[in-house]
């Protein structure tokens, strides 16, 4: 009987693993296989999570304009996407939330050379700025950045390792403030969630996140945010399975239609 409990747990653990493995497969980005029949192909776009809503609405337009095409997205943190591209994930387009990340991909020979010769290491198509997000009822009565430094105010920031955390540090530096948050979250959406749930009095997130959150949070603009503006570059990737579609997608994003959709979502123009 000695090892019975261990074996039981092992079996359960194996079952759990199998379950999660299946789940992962279902929600994963899926392989961007070459045209599996049909006149036009599949376009695979890797994009920063903050672009989710805009890019999905643009994709509807793109698919309508190019019958037979399908746009497949992989939305995640820019650094994570860059790592995936670096390890050979088959993708056509990369849209990052900051230029550093795109520079990393360019350094790793991840960009289509011809395209990069013409456009540089990514064409900047949007900008984003930080705002203070507070729960709808603003329990701590936050009005500006210096309120975050008050005693008894709990704030959530992005971890310094991710782009929004770097922007946070820049903005605080510009304001000459030293704020210790209660948590350094792994990405901007996690900060937003903590604010939405009212677990913190305030968080620093992008303006677009505040708009996406609707009425659950209120955004407060602050002047020092101008010191930490994020540029969003887009680029055609090396070995893109569908380079023509990719170029058409980039044109759409850079077009007036794209700019209008981005502006609606709260992005700034470069």
């Amino acid at each position: 009987m000695r090892d019975t409990p261990l074996r039981l747990v092992a079996a359960l653990a194996a079952a759990a693993l199998a379950l999660t493995a299946c789940a992962d497969r279902d929600t994963g980005p899926g392989p961007a296989g070459p045209d599996a029949g049909g006149p036009a192909g599949e376009l695979t776009v890797f994009a920063a999570a903050s672009l989710t809503d805009v890019f999905e609405s643009l994709a509807e337009e793109f698919e309508a304009d190019n019958p037979g095409t399908e746009v497949v997205f992989n939305f995640a943190g820019s650094s994570e996407l860059a790592a995936q591209i670096g390890s050979g994930a088959p993708a056509d387009v990369f849209a990052a939330a900051n230029t550093d990340t795109m520079a990393q991909v360019a350094e790793g020979e991840g960009l289509d050379r011809e395209w990069a010769d013409e456009h540089g290491d990514g064409a900047v198509f949007a900008t984003n700025t930080l705002q203070i997000a507070v729960p709808a009822d603003n329990p701590a009565g936050i009005e500006g950045l210096d309120d975050l430094a008050r005693d008894g105010v709990s704030a959530a920031f992005c971890a310094p390792e991710v782009p929004c955390g770097a922007a946070t540090a820049t903005a605080l530096d510009a304001a000459g403030l030293d704020v210790t948050p209660v948590t350094y979250e792994e990405d901007v959406r996690a900060v937003l969630t903590k604010v939405e749930l009212g677990e913190v009095d305030a968080g620093l997130v992008y303006r677009t996140d505040v708009i996406a959150a609707g009425e659950a949070v209120t955004g407060i603009a602050f002047p020092e945010a101008d010191a930490a503006v994020n540029d969003y570059p887009i680029a055609l990737l090396a070995d893109a399975p569908a380079p023509d579609l990719a170029a058409a997608w980039i044109d759409l994003v850079l077009s007036e239609t794209g700019a209008a959709a981005l502006a609606d979502a709260g992005f700034g123009t470069p």
Binding site: M1, E80, V182, T183, E185, A190, E199
Partner: protein, 274 residues
Amino acid sequence: MTRGSARTGPALRARSGRPPWPLVLPALAGVAFLVLPLLGLVVRAPWHDMGRRVTEPEVLAALWLSLSTATVATALCLVLGVPLAWLLARTDFPGRRIVRALVTVPLVIPPVVGGVALLLVLGRNGLLGRYLDAWFGITVPFTSAAVVLAQVFVAMPFLVISVEGALRGADRRYEEAAATLGAGRVTVFTRVTLPMVLPGIGAGAILCWARALGEFGATITFAGNFPGTTQTMPLAVYMAMQRDPEAAIVLSLVLLLVSLAVLATLREKWVNAA
């Protein structure tokens, strides 16, 4: 115990001889699959400045937090889980099967879901958390206590299942004999039942501790990530991976070595003591 000794008894051992290759090959592949990734860590580790990286205060803080919270969580699991396992194994109450199924739910749900659930109950605006905040001024998230609670949530099922299995496998005649000799129920439990299933409890506690040590999803969701307070080793690894993969490798190796060392020592003591 009777089952175990029959299986590994001398008669069977003599008959089995050389193991058949259809079993050995997949088993070897299985070992390779589990061990190769760990080997990858060792190969890619930046050994030249390992010493400097390992002794950085942030690393030591995360390691200490991981070890201490996992240990406290295991203690809590023992206090709550052993009685729970006893109830599941030895009593028959309405809804026992459902309770048993519910107890194992944390094993199969993604830990991050557990973190969300904990936040909705114990968060500052949570079902219970709002009263903790209003009446006692206690906020649980973003504290080391939240780390422990997240670990207890994901790790306790391992203990309960192990102990329940041990209790079901134990010979009940000793307990009955003690009872007929006049021992009360509590005395029977502490003097007869507990010593009998101690190896099972030990094995369960080890699993529980190891699971708590590796906890990530529920912790980052419920407890947040602040160095020294809530940033355990798995969180530190995840954060390091975003910017400095070499640091992530170092942290992973440290966590791996420490857990291997502790598990090997404890397993020797508990599992082989049976």
